[in-house]
């Protein structure tokens, strides 16, 4: 405590910059920090094109051992917004909201700057203004002059306002981060890191890419795979839509949260099976196979299992007021305790049950075919005759629809026996019995035993 504060009845609780930077950069991975920057571009695109047709808009990232650069043509940051909101840590209540925004917490962009390197430059051109900023992070941290940068401010290098005649295609933001931290530079030099980044980014922004946004990493365009579910005459995925009014969620009037849920079967893939959760178009949970969504005893459900590799569930949460959505600040998970998520989770569980029953029956049916117990396969046929369709093209159906499993074959109830015997002895038995399969060896030897010993 300094001398001039002597006698003050207040204890200083303001954070130091050093601590603040340390803290906010620890709880996010490098790939996620970069994807956060793309979120800002997506928000720009959304406010530019409220119809969400992003054709012609692009986000281009260049990443190597020396520098990181992201350039978009998604409308730019107006000086007014930059001056008062965009560079603040945390979103002030009075900040104007982009309806349906992805950037919600007012921390992403700065967190990424601090995570990556010691120097960043931002230049942005909006419809009527333009600015440039060039910050040396070490100098900014040390600068504690009262009224100076010590007061948690970044200085513009150049500002132009009240511009006219700026063409729409000239607007956009360019961010460059240099003097990268050693570990960051090391990762940026690894092909495997770039692959991981591209994979995560194309998943996180599947819906934006689908709407026409071009995202490139080192000049390679990201592809995406739209969400699909199998549909046929006899197999139909479940779909429900719910609206949660703002009054119920936050106690205040406002825009509601709309939720769309799909559950059904899709491409068989152990790794990709599970639930997918999107908030305002941004994927926050991918192929969840844990209790976070529907799986396991805590929900009175079975654990995820290889039989369920066909299962897919998609949950889309959308709201103009992004603060009502159940995402975490790193956008890598959901707030499982939030009332809206808990309610939707119940719906997800109910929606999934018939799909999982179908998949379990499918497995039983296949086992019965394999063992020769049964020849009917209505479930496999339904699957084979179905086609993958994009979720947004699906006809409305409330519940999962699938054929009933084949009735058990007539005759007495059957029991399967399985055992191991030395291979050369089995071969010998095969010769003596004059049969060609192991199954036949088992059946014939059993029949032989029963013929002599089975009579009471």
């Amino acid at each position: 405590m300094s001398v001039k504060d002597k006698g003050s009845r207040r204890a200083n609780a303001s954070p130091t910059k050093e601590f603040f930077i340390y803290m906010i950069t620890r709880d996010i991975t490098l790939t996620r920090a970069i994807i956060d920057l793309v979120d800002n571009s997506v928000d720009g695109a959304r406010s530019m094109r409220p119809d969400h047709n992003f054709n012609g808009l692009s986000v281009r990232l260049e990443i190597d051992k020396e520098h990181f650069r992201i350039v978009d043509n998604c409308g730019g940051i107006p000086v007014e917004i930059a001056r008062n909101y965009a560079f603040r840590f945390g979103r002030p209540k009075e900040a104007p909201v982009t309806p349906g925004s992805v950037g919600q917490f007012g921390v992403g962009m700065k967190r990424t700057f601090f995570k990556l390197g010691r120097r960043f430059t931002v230049s942005s051109t909006a419809s009527t203004s333009r600015f440039e900023m060039d910050i040396d992070v070490d100098r900014w941290k040390e600068d504690d002059r009262p009224g100076g940068a010590g007061e948690w401010q970044f200085e513009f290098a150049n500002v132009e306002e009240d511009l006219s005649g700026v063409k729409v295609d000239e607007t956009g933001t360019r961010i460059e981060i240099t003097q990268l931290y050693d570990s960051v530079a090391e990762s940026f030099g690894l092909e495997s890191f770039i692959t991981r980044l591209k994979n995560e980014m194309s998943l996180a922004h599947t819906l934006s890419i689908d709407s026409g946004l071009a995202i490139t990493v080192n000049a390679i365009p990201l592809l995406h795979e739209p969400a699909t579910l199998f549909v046929s005459n006899t197999l139909k995925p479940a779909f429900i839509e719910k609206i949660y009014p703002s009054e119920v969620l936050s106690g205040k009037p406002g825009t509601p949260v709309r939720v769309k849920l799909f559950a059904g079967v899709s491409e068989r893939n152990l790794h990709d099976g599970g639930w997918y959760i999107f908030c305002n178009g941004r994927l926050v949970i991918r192929a969840d196979q844990s209790a976070t969504t529907i799986w396991g005893a805590s929900h009175d459900m079975r654990q995820y299992h290889p039989d369920f590799a066909y299962f897919r569930g998609y949950a889309y949460f959308d709201s103009d007021d992004a603060s009502l959505l159940p995402w975490t600040t790193t956008k890598t998970g959901v707030d499982v305790d939030s009332p809206v998520y808990r309610s939707v989770q119940q719906e997800m569980i109910e929606l999934s049950k018939p799909v999982l029953t179908f998949l379990s029956n499918l497995d039983k049916e296949r086992a019965a075919i394999e063992s020769g117990e049964s020849k009917e396969q209505p479930l496999s046929s339904a699957l084979t005759s179905s086609k993958a369709q994009r979720t947004e093209d699906l006809a409305i159906s409330q519940t999962f629809d699938a054929p009933n499993p084949a009735p058990p074959p007539p005759g007495p109830r059957m029991q399967r026996i399985q055992y191991y015997k030395p291979a050369d002895e089995v071969q010998k038995a095969m010769q003596i019995l004059k049969v060609k399969t192991f199954t036949a060896v088992g059946e014939k030897t059993f029949d032989y035993f029963m013929q002599y010993e089975g009579e009471e």
Binding site: G189, L190, S192, T195, K198, P221, T228, E267, H271, A388
Partner: protein, 332 residues
């Protein structure tokens, strides 16, 4: 047009024999790092132990370990061990490699017959985590594009994916299933035609090595960090297309030793994407003897042999020092 008698005798795998001798030649060059006879050799010997025989005879290696996952046939392997100094470990490589004592300089040849998969990448990671400076890692994988599958597999593809069968997409799905998320998302099914799988396999091995070394180096002083230098990039086909890559692992502070190995003096050494194809012409012993008497020489234009295509002569002139001679012999 060459007749059927010019076709390769697949049972003898001549390209594999050439590859083995070339690898032996490359290993010999590692002497600036230490005496080759003190190196350890770790291989996947199979029942023939051809690599073990060659490296013991030619390089004098005495510390030799063969990894053989088929424990049921241990009797057969123990019988076929060519020398007392060869030991066989009957566990999968993924169990053996992490537990090896990596103090001694090691030549590891992961000579798989399968295609690149997560197990291969994980084994490569194990070697890169342990191997000391002056060691060499060689990886051989099958890189033959998947053949058009039978009706049952096509139907399974159809019911698994909900899409009509496409060979390109089928190949991509198979590769994804084998290696998971390591695959760059821009790779398409048509990239896997022809030599495509070989090119991608090499890239994936390279990026796995870079990642494993990066993790290991993060806590080391700059001169102690381990770097990798590719020296081998072979492709050959004794039936299926195979791809072999070899890297020297060395401490950054020992760059001078690496330079002293003078790998560039070996005609088959390739340090980048460029491939050395081992393309073995099929010649009779008499033809080879006739050609040998005219070799070595700078240009092969004057080398002649009646009835043998020029291209075969050229290929032979390139390989003759490593050429296998298969002859019928009676041992008494």
């Amino acid at each position: 047009m060459a007749g059927t008698y010019r076709r390769i005798n697949y049972s003898l795998r001549p390209a594999k024999a050439v590859e083995r001798k070339m690898i032996c030649e490359a290993v010999r060059r590692l002497h600036p790092f230490g005496k080759i006879e003190t190196y350890r050799y770790v291989g996947l010997g199979s029942v023939y132990f051809s690599d073990f025989q060659l490296f013991h005879r030619e390089l004098g290696m005495e510390d030799m370990l063969s990894i053989e996952k088929d424990a049921h046939a241990s009797e057969c392997f123990e019988f076929n061990k060519p020398y007392k100094c060869v030991t066989v470990d009957y566990r999968p490589a993924s169990d053996v490699l992490p537990g090896l004592d990596w103090q001694s300089k090691t030549i590891v040849w992961l000579d798989y017959e399968s295609k690149l998969n997560e197990t291969v990448l994980s084994d490569v990671r194990s070697v890169c985590t342990g191997a000391c400076s002056g060691s060499m890692l060689i990886v051989t994988v099958n890189a033959h594009p998947e053949r058009d599958p039978d009706e049952a597999t096509r139907n399974e593809y159809n019911s698994d994916t909900g899409k009509p069968f496409s060979l390109d997409e089928y190949r991509l799905r198979e590769l994804r299933n084998r290696i998971g998320d390591c695959l760059p998302p821009e790779i398409k099914g048509r990239d896997l035609r022809g030599k495509g799988l070989a090119i991608i396999s090499r890239k994936l091995l390279e990026s796995t090595i870079a990642e494993a070394l990066s993790a290991r180096n993060g806590v080391l002083r700059p001169e102690k960090r381990i770097a990798s230098r590719q020296i081998l990039n072979f492709r050959y086909s004794d039936g299926a297309l195979m791809s072999t890559n070899g890297w020297v692992l060395f401490e950054v502070g020992e760059q001078a030793k690496l330079d002293a190995c003078s790998f560039n003096e070996l005609s088959f050494v390739r340090i980048g994407e460029e491939v050395y194809s081992i393309d073995v012409p099929c010649l009779t012993i008499k033809e080879m003897r006739q050609l040998n008497s005219q070799l070595p020489r700078r240009g092969v234009d004057e080398v002649t042999l009646p009835g043998v295509p020029k291209s075969d002569i050229e290929r032979y002139a390139e390989l003759y020092r490593y050429f296998p001679t298969f002859a019928e012999a009676i041992f008494t």
